[in-house]
């Protein structure tokens, strides 16, 4: 691991929109002096650096009966580390205007850091301390746990949370995905500081690490900063295996009674994995049915024509061990059944007939053009680079993406619409929807 900092595979200059040299963005693949690979975008316009990274192993690695562990780690990592207690740690963060955040998703433990150049060393030093020497002092853990439990108590009467929890419990019984990443009122009290320490030891390792760095920084300094933060971590993680799984309960409807004026509806079913050959077609078809802001079929039918809801949407979601389509809306109790019937009709219609040629062309234009909007700040670029790396799409993905979208034909779209919308959905509702009860099954 004595190699010098250098490039692997060269650098790629990508013009996001043709003939717009101002928007050219170069992604460099760099290897730090200690051998950690990262993607770097140098951007001198603002004197700051944005770091985004992920460790394989998120909430799906929570110990049995202790769901919420990864999330509690994320909320407690900035509560003291190494020689700094919680107060001293927060003092340095605030004094140097450092933005440091951690969060747990189902498959990854993620983090981001944003700092002005003048405080860069201090920031990466604090990050190293947090990742390698977290204190997890009992008083700090109890305090943070108290905040989480207050939030979980609120959720027990929140229709969004209730509909969501039932959906995941029903779709993935017995699997780590059945739990919310934040855990529950039953599991969060059971988590000990040793559980938190154990989680960091099993998950925070260099082999599961993905790093992206964007900002006013050269590759040499970037390599030094990456080593400062991550080189002290162990080489290999120790993850428990997680089974691949498909959502259950398709065709089922579950209504949870809750005294609120508006019922919240969640619906979902199996989607397509990120490396499925039909993924891009599914992405486009989903956009036509339920994506975008004011253009989707569901938006037009549910909101614009009938005024049934303020919002309705549907998305693709992919995980390491499953893939989903998921959507939701919130609508008044006496018209929930009508809204749900429209969603079901539109979904079925899309499965049977697919999109029109015009819809396909419009969706392609949108999806190609709008990508630039997800790459217009340092933090957004860094997050996007991490996602591209996690999805193993290749350093030239941004360059290839438009051609991949263009390659989807109307026949592809129709075939894939049937594939993703033809297998039925699991529907959960929280509220008092008139004339809508749980289905038997």
């Amino acid at each position: 691991m004595m190699r010098l900092l250098g490039f692997i595979g060269g650098a790629l200059t990508l013009a996001l929109v043709q003939a717009a040299p101002a928007g050219a963005m170069t992604i460099e693949k760099i290897v730090s002096p200690k051998g950690i690979t990262a993607w770097l975008v140098r951007e001198k316009a603002v004197p700051l650096v944005a770091l985004n990274y992920a460790f394989k192993g998120g909430a799906a690695q929570d110990p049995a009966g202790k769901s919420g562990t990864a999330n509690l780690v994320a909320d407690t990592l900035d509560e003291g580390a190494g020689d700094l207690d919680s107060k001293a740690f927060h003092d340095r963060i605030e004094r140097h205007a450092i933005e440091l955040s951690f969060n747990a998703s189902r498959d990854e433990f993620r983090g981001s850091l944003r700092v002005l150049n003048e405080h860069r060393d201090e920031a990466f030093d604090l990050l190293r301390k947090a990742l390698t020497e977290p204190r997890f002092e009992p008083s700090a853990v109890e305090r943070v746990r108290g905040q989480e439990l207050a939030g979980l108590r609120r959720e027990t009467t929140n229709p969004n949370s209730i509909a969501g929890r039932i959906w995941w419990e029903t779709a993935f019984p017995g699997h780590p995905y059945s739990f919310e990443t934040k855990g529950s009122l039953e599991t969060v009290p059971a988590i000990t500081p040793d559980d938190l320490r154990d989680f960091t030891k099993r998950v925070f390792a260099r082999n599961g690490l993905t790093v992206s760095i964007v900002g006013d920084i050269d590759e040499k300094t970037a390599g030094e900063m990456i080593d400062k933060a991550f080189a002290a971590l162990p080489a290999a993680n120790d993850l428990k295996p997680v089974a691949d799984v498909k959502p259950k309960g398709l065709g089922r409807r579950i209504v949870a009674e809750l005294d609120v004026p508006q019922a919240v509806v969640m619906f979902g079913g199996p989607g397509l994995g990120r490396h499925d050959p039909d993924f891009m077609a599914a992405y486009i078809v989903n956009h036509i049915l339920g994506g975008g802001s004011f253009s989707s079929r569901l938006y037009k039918e549910v909101r614009e024509k009938r005024g049934l809801a303020y919002g309705v949407s549907e998305n693709l979601a992919w995980f390491d061990h499953t893939a989903l389509i998921m959507g939701g809306t919130a609508t008044r109790a006496d018209r929930t059944a009508e809204a749900l019937a429209i969603i079901e009709t539109e979904t079925k219609k899309m499965a049977e007939e697919g999109p029109t040629a015009d819809e396909l062309a419009a969706a392609k234009d949108y999806l190609k053009g709008a990508y630039a909007l997800s790459l217009d700040t340092s933090s957004k670029i860094a997050a996007q680079l991490t996602q591209i790396q996690l999805d193993r799409l290749g350093i030239d993905y941004i360059q290839r993406r438009s051609a991949m979208i263009d390659a989807v034909t109307l026949d592809d779209a129709k075939r894939v619409a049937k594939r993703i919308y033809g297998s039925g959905m699991l529907v959960t509702v929280a509220g008092r929807p008139k004339g809508l009860a749980s289905s038997t099954q």
Partner: protein, 463 residues
């Protein structure tokens, strides 16, 4: 306050440039339209926003929710561009759009490739005067805003407490009205109400266009002249003169009880100056005070209530300088189990009293000012944030120069000014205190139940 009640058209999701920041251009067209251009050449995209100096505070009594309703109806088409055309053109560009309404302003924006700027300006100029409404589109949209009210307010006890507190804090100012509107008034809003409001307030001399992104300022000006510049100024736009608050005379408190409250909460709002209504330095001192008192884990309230005394699970404070009239300063906390809201309130008052009596330390002052000033640099990393900062400032009585001098004005705040701000403005008589509690049954007299001793049960499952 303005920011806290901003409503977006679709569920989505003040500061400054340092010397090192972008050079801002500020133009005025002959018809009175102001154009602000913020260069950001990193990506070939622009954020185009049009801000109208009209919001919920400009509604006639009895028509609450009208400014926001009109915002939704602005997407229903014009004689030249039928309903949906603008949105579908923006989508076809790969653009994103949305709109928002606050007490003081209404805004619309598109984020599109740079070369599309003139085209979106053309559409936006067209709907500034060309809106066409029919009951066929107005009535379903009224159902949409009622569902939006359900989603934001009725399904959310904390939001309803905030609504009640605003109504109690602002006795005479229309800021006491919810931006979304009171349900019974929203139900009666009509097409004619919306068109009347539109004709009264929408015009080039009541609007500011902010363009942030990959564009040359002179080019943006030329596009603006070509599009917005062709509109005639509105003859009857008058300066905003809303009813103002009388001096506060009574300490107010209220309780919102709801069976769904599983975590009680204490909220306090004080009537304080905004940047626009404050004397020089006052608003900046309030910003630093809010930061020292209640931003983050090392703030006074968090240290005292959460860490040292263990009476709260969370605590904090906030202040929004951007309001055309008076603004508010907020303090909040959620008690740990077994601590009453009354006890939490006493502990909170003790923290505030200490700042009033003994002031803040030089270290707290330095730390807070560094953090606040850094936000101005972080903002430069996001063209949409920059556009929002300038737009919001210009809508609430500030100028481009005011935004640019903000970091210097924050740096100039002294410990004595912070202490004076606390002494002068955090008086109980200027405040409303709100208690959010669990409604445990119909037999209880809600008016008397101001602060129960215990929080709700912890292990309750969904019913």
């Amino acid at each position: 306050m303005a920011a806290a009640v901003t409503l977006l058209l679709c569920p989505a999701g003040a500061g400054a440039a340092e010397q090192s920041g972008p050079k801002i251009s500020d133009f005025k067209l002959d018809n009175g339209l102001e154009l602000v251009v913020i260069p950001d050449h990193r990506a070939p995209v622009i954020t185009h926003m049009i801000w109208y100096k009209v919001g919920a505070a400009d509604e006639t009594a009895g028509k609450s929710g009208l400014a926001h309703f009109l915002e939704h109806l602005m997407f229903k088409g014009t004689a030249m561009h039928p309903a949906g055309q603008f949105s579908s053109v923006v989508a076809r560009m790969g653009g994103q759009e949305n709109a928002f309404t606050s007490s003081d302003y209404t805004g619309y924006y598109q984020r599109v490739p740079s070369e599309k700027l003139e085209e979106v300006m053309g559409f936006e100029a067209d709907r500034m005067t060309g809106l066409v409404l029919t009951d066929a589109v107005v009535l379903p949209e009224r159902d949409v805003i009622l569902e939006e009210r359900n989603q934001r307010m009725e399904n959310n006890p904390r939001a309803r407490l905030g609504e009640q507190m605003d109504a109690a804090l602002f006795l005479n100012s229309p800021y006491g009205r919810p931006v979304i509107g009171w349900r019974h008034e929203m139900e009666g809003l009509t097409k004619d109400d919306a068109i009347g409001f539109y004709r009264r307030f929408y015009g080039p001399n009541n609007a500011v266009v902010v363009v942030a992104g990959d564009v040359d300022p002179q080019q943006a000006l030329a596009f603006a002249k070509q599009t917005y510049g062709k509109l005639k100024p509105h003859a009857d736009i008058a300066p905003r003169a809303r009813p103002l608050e009388p001096p506060p005379a009574a300490v107010r408190s209220l309780t919102l009880a709801d069976p769904r409250v599983e975590q009680p909460t204490l909220q306090r709002s004080y009537l304080v100056p905004s940047f626009h209504t404050a004397k020089p330095g006052e608003s900046e001192a309030l910003e630093v005070l809010a930061h020292i008192l209640g931003a983050g884990s090392n703030s006074r309230l968090y240290r005292a209530l959460v860490v040292d005394k263990h009476v709260a699970v969370s605590a904090g404070a906030y202040y929004d300088s951007s309001a055309y009239d008076m603004s508010k300063f907020g303090v909040y906390g959620a008690p740990v189990e077994g601590v009453s809201l009354t006890d939490l309130e006493s502990a909170t008052d003790a923290v505030i009293a200490e700042v009033i009596d003994k002031g803040v330390t030089a270290d707290e002052l330095d730390r807070s000012k560094s953090r606040l000033v850094a936000d101005a640099i972080y903002a430069q990393d996001n063209q949409a944030t920059m556009a929002r900062w300038y737009g919001q400032a210009l809508m609430t009585g500030a100028t481009v120069a005011d935004v640019q001098s903000w970091p210097d004005r924050i740096r100039a705040v002294t410990a004595a000014q912070v202490q004076n701000a606390a002494r002068q403005w955090l008086e109980r008589i200027r405040s409303v205190t709100g208690y959010l509690v669990k409604d445990t049954g119909p037999a209880v007299n809600k008016a008397e139940r101001t602060a129960p001793a215990k929080s709700g049960s912890t292990g309750e499952k969904r019913s």
